[in-house]
């Protein structure tokens, strides 16, 4: 057993929890979109990057601070999402799922290249707001306030989304439309509008994750694409069937990744994929998913 000290362990667990927060929000957004639209939104990573960049642009071009960006950036990116849904996705709902995958992949390529052409691949710094800067001294380790904030916001957002879908009337419509859109339409509910708003909501979640990530990681045009493959693995492990599945697996795998960094660092970038293989071997529909 390799030697380690408790500080390193706690530090990595916290880092894992933060990564897990992002996995959770992103896979939650994917699950919400997939539930109603039956599309795996490959553009999710690009939309996460757009969220971070929008916050950066609001600050640098318009002087709008972090707190406002936390609301504005997701809203702006969601408008972009509405345009995608109205003009592109809407045309392919009756086709095989894989066309949705390919279409959103194409959109991601266009968006990421446009940002890359404009800003290159190097990261732009984004300072956390003064109220969240600094750290709490716990004697045995320093706890950066911003990181606690990220974990907190992520938990609140995830639980609120879960409550919205499971406990409200709107959520009930949404779940009904997922099961049988035609029937729900005959009851006079505007399902196409609901689909548009659901996509916008999922996109806004991705953008919110981007704004949260901006002060932690550098804002760059490629920040989304690498993360996306990991989030897909998280989604496969959790199973697309359930919202809690997406949330719990997101946080859980973040922690697993953090622990791997302590005990066997070279495997840290691959442990989630290995976990995916193991879980698929024993539970082919994922930890919490219904069979696909």
């Amino acid at each position: 057993m390799p030697s380690f000290d408790i500080e390193v362990l706690l530090g990595q667990l916290l880092l894992g929890l933060i990564n897990g927060s992002f996995y959770a929000i992103l896979s939650l957004g994917l699950a919400v979109i997939f539930g109603l639209l039956n599309i795996i939104n490959f553009t999710h990573g690009a939309q996460y990057m757009m969220g971070a960049f929008t916050a950066w642009m609001l600050l640098n071009y318009l002087g709008i601070n972090y707190w406002a960006a936390l609301v504005l950036a997701p809203a702006i990116v969601a408008v972009f999402g509405v345009a995608i849904e109205r003009f592109l996705l809407r045309r392919i709902y009756e086709l095989d799922h894989i066309y949705g995958f390919l279409l959103t992949y194409g959109i991601a390529l266009v968006v990421e290249s446009a940002y890359r052409a404009q800003y290159g691949v190097s990261g732009q710094p984004y300072r956390p707001p003064p109220a969240l800067s600094g750290a709490i001294d716990l004697d045995y380790m320093l706890l950066p306030i911003y990181r606690l904030w990220v974990v907190g916001v992520s938990l609140v957002v995830c639980i609120a989304t879960w409550l919205l879908i499971e406990k409200t009337r709107l959520g009930a419509y949404l779940r009904a439309a997922t099961e049988n859109p035609v029937l729900v339409r005959t009851f006079g509910i505007n399902v196409p509008l609901m689909i548009t708003l659901t996509y916008a909501f999922g996109v806004a979640l991705a953008a919110l994750a981007g704004v949260l990530a901006a002060p932690l990681y550098q804002v760059s045009s490629i920040m989304g694409s690498n993360l996306m493959v990991v989030v897909f693995a998280v989604v496969v492990i959790g199973g697309m069937g359930s919202i809690p599945g997406a949330i719990l697996t997101g946080f859980g795998l973040g922690l697993v990744e953090g622990l791997t960094k302590v005990f066997y660092p070279p495997a840290a970038s691959t442990v989630i994929f290995v976990a995916m293989i193991l879980i698929l071997t024993f539970r082919p529909s994922g930890l919490m998913g219904r069979s696909a």
Binding site: F101, L102, G106, L109, S113, F232
Partner: protein, 323 residues
């Protein structure tokens, strides 16, 4: 998916004549091309054409969209390059090692991923390919960011001087044709018909008593092996194996080639590979905007052009015959 009619042409007399004319035309193009165009470009086209055909065997004929084919292509390119450079194996043996690597990876990928259907399948293959990517990034023998460069081009046949670009072109053409022949035979064999049956209606194929997972696994192994052949050929012909070959974007590019040329057509991936490689070569000056253009083509293909170039032409001929 494209309709089955493009995949299984009816066999009329005029059709046979037309096909003979097409084959003759293709042979002329293949023979004359290296004297008109830059041979390295053509070699590149041949490698990717074989890769795209191998990919199409799964996507087009078995209906399995893999988003991880870069692992077979790039993984095999590394193995071939290493065998030729570090062990001094001749080109043929090294390429064979690449083929075996691709087939082996295909079996492993297949065994894990065919448990999931449709879109999950694509995501699992993508994650597995990312695993191979990280392995290539961290392993010693792959040379990290530099890759394996200056791969020797030494054939076991002493009369072949592969360092001559035109000789290399015909060598690559021979390998491509061998791979293409295997795909042609597979598609027209009973096995190929079962694959199409699975694509069209998996439940019915199961109820007819076909062991569907075994067929899918076989398709995966075959597609992996042929992708490995393409990767190995590329490592020898262009003398380099790098992370680009095994990266996620490569998996996306092969999907694009197949989509542009025509899913579930035999020659579509060849046309698509030529188009995409030409775009990457001749528009390289536009830098990152080439990627954006790829994205736009993806969007256009999915929205308006799902049959691809060859598929559209075939449909047009079909219409003209009926009127």
């Amino acid at each position: 998916m494209a309709s089955a009619s493009t995949a299984v042409p009816s066999r009329g007399a005029s059709h046979t004549a037309r096909r003979a004319a097409l084959v003759a035309a293709a042979a002329c193009v293949a023979l004359v091309a290296p004297f008109l165009l830059y041979p390295i470009f053509l070699i590149n086209v041949l490698c990717f054409a074989l890769f795209a055909c191998a990919f199409n065997l799964m996507m087009g004929f078995a209906g399995l969209l893999s988003f991880g084919h870069a692992a077979f292509f790039g993984g095999s390119a590394y193995v071939t390059a290493y065998a030729a450079k570090a062990w001094g194996w001749p080109a043929e043996l090294s390429i064979l090692a690449g083929l075996v690597t691709g087939g082996g990876l295909g079996v492993v990928f297949g065994w894990i991923s065919i448990r999931r259907q449709g879109i999950y399948f694509g995501m699992v293959t993508m994650a597995l390919a990312q695993l191979v990517y990280f392995a290539a990034l961290q392993a010693k023998f792959t040379g990290g960011e530099d890759g394996i460069q200056g791969v020797p081009q030494r054939s076991a046949l002493p009369m072949l001087d592969l360092t001559d670009n035109r000789v290399m072109y015909f060598y690559a053409l021979a390998v491509f044709l061998a791979g293409f022949a295997v795909i042609y035979r597979t598609v027209h064999s009973p096995f190929g018909h079962v694959l199409r049956a699975i694509r069209e209606n998996e439940g019915r194929a199961i109820s007819l008593g076909y062991d569907v997972p075994r067929f899918k696994l076989l398709a995966f192994a075959l597609s992996g092996a042929l992708s490995g052949l393409a990767g190995g050929l590329k490592a020898i012909a262009l003398q380099i194996a790098t992370l680009t070959d095994v990266e996620f974007t490569m998996s996306g590019e092969v999907v694009l080639m197949t989509l542009v040329g025509g899913v579930a057509t035999l020659t579509g991936p060849v046309v698509g590979a030529a188009v995409v490689v030409a775009m990457l070569t001749y528009l390289a000056a536009f830098g990152v905007w080439v990627k954006a253009l790829q994205g736009i083509i993806f969007i256009a293909c999915v929205l308006a052009f799902r049959r691809g170039i060859v598929g559209e032409i075939a449909a047009m001929l079909e219409r003209s015959r009926q009127t």
